[in-house]
Assembly symmetry: C2
């Protein structure tokens, strides 16, 4: 089943201990859709400027990603500059230029309206909600957010959470939304705000899935599933690892006939697989070169990394 | 098979967001031996002062731990005071009084000499080495260390590493020993100094086992296995969680007829199980009350937390 994703398509200048790259193609929607495209059809809603040309278009086309929802406007695309010199788990932002993204009004092409899966990448919750409400027929909605929206746009964010089935955020964001430092208690509090599934990302330590199961006639019970991150021989650039995780996770879900708890557990592994590949080169380079057999091979590595037998 | 452990038996005053306790029975050898005692016979080598009496002795006796190697001398026992108010993953030391521990000269009772397993808890590497050399017949030796020895006693520590089969340390210590920030490369570097097995503890994120396997006729290959930590409803006191992990890990190994890679993977789970229990009460309270069925039940929870099927 196809996924519609709304989010940023951007240029990133990145510095890591492995080097520096200027104006790589980036943005949450880019990483997400490249990662998800290995599992299912993906349709993107975003806005770009005059600096987005045939070369960038070709990156999406090579993965058969539908870009009819990428609006081209006069001006420059969203630009971000960040450094991981001090900490590989968290970027230090040096510069953010919203450019054409500042007046982004997501427009949903009619051809996208039969999508069964919707991913709301990290953008203004007012826009996330508008897109959610324009696609009432979707089967599963997942979303991301960040500290800025949690701190300063809480009422709008709470409205978005009500309409989400799955929320993917990191430890700090989980604790911030809940106002509780205990991860398990914080997870419960966040899920009480809407999402039935919560994926908490731990950077180099992997991610935890929280979801409720309700055995027949028994009280609901919070189940947790932990997928590790792969210790990599060399981390080149962690930019987009979280969005690639989301793409692998959601892409796998959308490719499956049934959404059982087991499907979600395997989705956590596919998310981790895609996140690990994203770190191996600057920007989206590794995702562009990736093949499906490599993905399946790494899924097997994750199994070996975690399973007793 | 029985384990001999050498390390500290101490009193700890602990402050955490859950409260404060004065002079709990603590010390690495205490946590280790309580945790390991659920799996196999344990014998302790340590030194205590006049403040260690029948009440403390009874804690060891209740778990059938051999305390003939605990030397009683005039003076006060090792005392540590620490706080987790700012960070649950790392204690802030407020006070350390070595007391009788300052002149600790480990003496190995003859009755301990047939031990097959030896655990060198975090003490001066000169003493670790002396104990190691006094027990040449042991089958498997594991050890721990800390930043202080790594920074200021490196030559002595390197001698200890040569004699270890298993080293259990945390992320920061691994990176410090190796002088390398990449965990996988650092693990390789540490293992090149001696230990065939390296367990890197990640606090609330679990622990990773690194070990070499050498498939017939192929090049040696570094295998990794990640055991998560359990997200707990309430963390009361993380003191001793790492030593309890070591006790569960090494105790399980000592209880098994064969040391296969699978045995080591299961040992990682038993380590995580014991570490999780240690955090549920102040000091050693939870380990004192624990039962074997509770351990097996929690092992099952760890399986659910990590396994796809």
């Amino acid at each position: 089943m196809s996924i519609t994703v709304v989010g940023s398509v951007a240029y990133d200048s990145i510095e890591t201990p492995a080097g520096r790259r200027e104006r790589c193609l980036g943005g949450a929607a880019t990483y997400f859709s490249l990662a998800a495209s290995f599992f299912t059809d993906v349709r993107v809603i975003a806005v770009v400027g005059d600096d987005f040309g045939p070369e960038q278009e070709a990156v999406f086309a090579a993965r058969k990603i539908d870009t009819r929802g990428i609006e081209h406007t006069a001006g420059k695309s969203f630009f971000w500059e960040g450094s991981y010199l001090e900490n590989f788990n968290e970027a230090k932002t040096r510069n953010t230029e919203l450019n054409v993204f500042a007046s982004f009004e997501p427009k949903i092409p009619n051809a996208y309206r039969d999508s069964d899966f919707l991913f709301l990448a990290n953008i203004d919750p007012v826009l996330q909600r508008r897109v959610r409400e324009s696609m009432p027929g979707v089967k599963l909605v997942a979303g991301d957010t960040m500290n800025y929206w949690i701190k300063d746009h809480r009422p709008a964010l709470l409205e978005v959470l009500k309409g989400l089935d799955v929320l993917l955020i990191n430890d700090t964001e989980t604790r911030m939304i809940a106002g509780n430092n205990n991860l398990l208690q914080a997870a419960r509090a966040v899920m009480a705000l809407g999402p039935r599934f919560l994926v908490v990302k731990h950077g180099e330590y992997g991610a935890t899935l929280f979801h409720e199961i309700r055995p027949k006639g028994e009280r609901a019970e919070l189940r947790t599933f932990r997928a590790p991150a792969l210790p990599l021989e060399q981390v080149i650039d962690p930019t987009g690892a979280g969005d690639s995780f989301a793409g692998g996770f959601f892409g796998y879900l959308a490719s499956q006939p049934e959404l059982t708890p087991g499907t979600f557990r395997r989705a956590m592994f596919y998310g981790s697989v895609m996140g690990s590949f994203a770190c191996e080169c600057f920007g989206t380079e590794r995702l562009q070169q990736l093949t499906r057999p490599e993905i399946d091979e790494r899924f097997h590595v994750f199994r070996q990394l975690t399973h007793l037998d």
